[in-house]
Amino acid sequence: MTDLVLSTESLEKSYPGTPPVRALRGVDLMVEAGEAVAIVGPSGSGKSTLLHLMGTLDRPSAGSISVAGREVQDLTDSELSAVRANHIGFVFQQFHLLSGYSARDNIADGVLYRGIELNERREMADRALELVNLQDRAGHLAEKLSGGERQRVAVARAIVGRPDIILADEPTGNLDSKSSAAVIDLLRDLNEGGITLVVITHDLEVAGKFPRMVQLRDGRIISDRRAA
């Protein structure tokens, strides 16, 4: 199985408290290169925790995670940063664009921490802008873009460095239905172009648009379906 991009084994995560909150109770998940997986579940099901663990933003209480062929649960903080800089792209519900900076420069920041020169980063950003069909917005300041455009810029920022996997956390959560459909179409197109994708959503309808749907409840996977 050389094309395994991400896998988790018996993944557990508890948060301290009385009693401790067990957000994940043994999750086994494998994502192969080129897959597009929607992880769906109600609020409190542990899906955000799962995304943070897969994205190496947090550490599991037990179990193991492998990203791009690397066991990450025992890496140091700066080694985890390196994994994120080189192998993972993120898309967030709140976009997290820097206001005062152009769409192009926001996208160029996607590979900022790889030590690539600014001019080269901007060229990469221009190519990513083409992929999300926003060439004509390259010089626009982030705050001048519509919500849908902002999320497409955020998607471009996630893919600009061609990471092994894109993790999207409720990417349509802040969008109206039209923009939301456009972003989902964009993500599916990118997936068809070869990008591996994990989308987290609470919306079954959104989840249903991806070829594989994993349902999470109370920290456990309750179903894992691939479209025929």
């Binding site: 943070h52 903080d77 940063s81 709140q94 997290h96 206001s99 900022l112 020169e117 600014l118």
Partner: protein, 396 residues
Amino acid sequence: MNDRSLLRPSDAMRVALVGLKTRTTRALLSALGITIGIASMVAVLGLSESSKSDLIASLDRLGTNLLVVQAGGGIGFGSGTLVETAEAMVSRIGPVESVAAVGSVEANVFRTDLVPTTRSGGLSVKVASPTLLDTLGGSMAEGRFLDDSGSALPVVVVGSVAADRLGIAGFDGSAMLWVEDRWFGVLGVMDSLELAGDLDRSVLMTEATATTIFGYQGIPESLYIRSQPEFIDSVIEVLPATADPENPDQVQVARPTDALEARAAAEGAFTALFLGLGLVALLVGGVGVANVMVISVLERRGEIGLRRALGATRRHVAIQFLGEALILATIGGIAGVALGVGVTAAYSALRGWTTLVPAIAIWGGLGASLLIGAIAGLYPARRAARMAPTEALRSA
């Protein structure tokens, strides 16, 4: 594959400027505190240096080798006069280059004979040796000084303040003054005498004139003495006994430039005080920057979370916020040095001083602002670096 998270130095600089670019007004206001602190320190050092250089220039110009001998008047000692032979005796002291005697005449001076005698204007009439002007290093604004022709003509030379009060500032060679009971011609008007301010409020006549007209006895009140600088201490030692051998302990010897030197020293003491106040202003400025940075870190949790997600290490995040504090402090410091130099130049121009800002003030000012910036940035930077990425993203 060896993965690394790497931030180029040029990018670190760009990233450190994000806060300044997105919250310009607030950033500049916080830098203003540092500007004020640095400006006050630079201005204090610059002004003290410029005024001191002015005093030193005055001392150089006036010479520190002038001595004044006066009789110590007071209860039981009679009038404050020296002995008649004092001038001649003192001039025989080897290292003495020149001596000038000044005595008094009981007379009042008026612009015309119509002025009531009670309105004497606080001016005095004095008798002076022809050597007085050179001994004091003084100069004439108009006309000429008393000469040693021995003539008893009714003429006077007028001090600068006296000339103002008598209304003969625009002297054209033909002015007359009413001295006691007769008209006197005005020979000339002196420039202000920095080392003998009392003579500025006097009109001066020769001994011959005073003797002939007012019955002056030839007993001086004070002597002005120029000595060779290297022997000045020896001259001071022998002066009392030479000027009045019978009552040497009644003779006071003074060095007028001592007052200027004391002024320079006193200004030095104030410099330390104001420098301390400047330092307090700088510290308050630093606290302001730290405060704004802490708020900025809290407001920018989302950005911190995003940067961690993009692969920034804790160190990169710390560098970003520390860099931002350093940039703010540098801007504040440069503006402060410029403002301090500007204030020094403006005030020096106003006072006619040469503008002098010591290099230590400029480099020290920039160094101090960097140091303050580093200290102010340290805590916010640590706080930003320690923020867990998930928490930063969640709370945004």
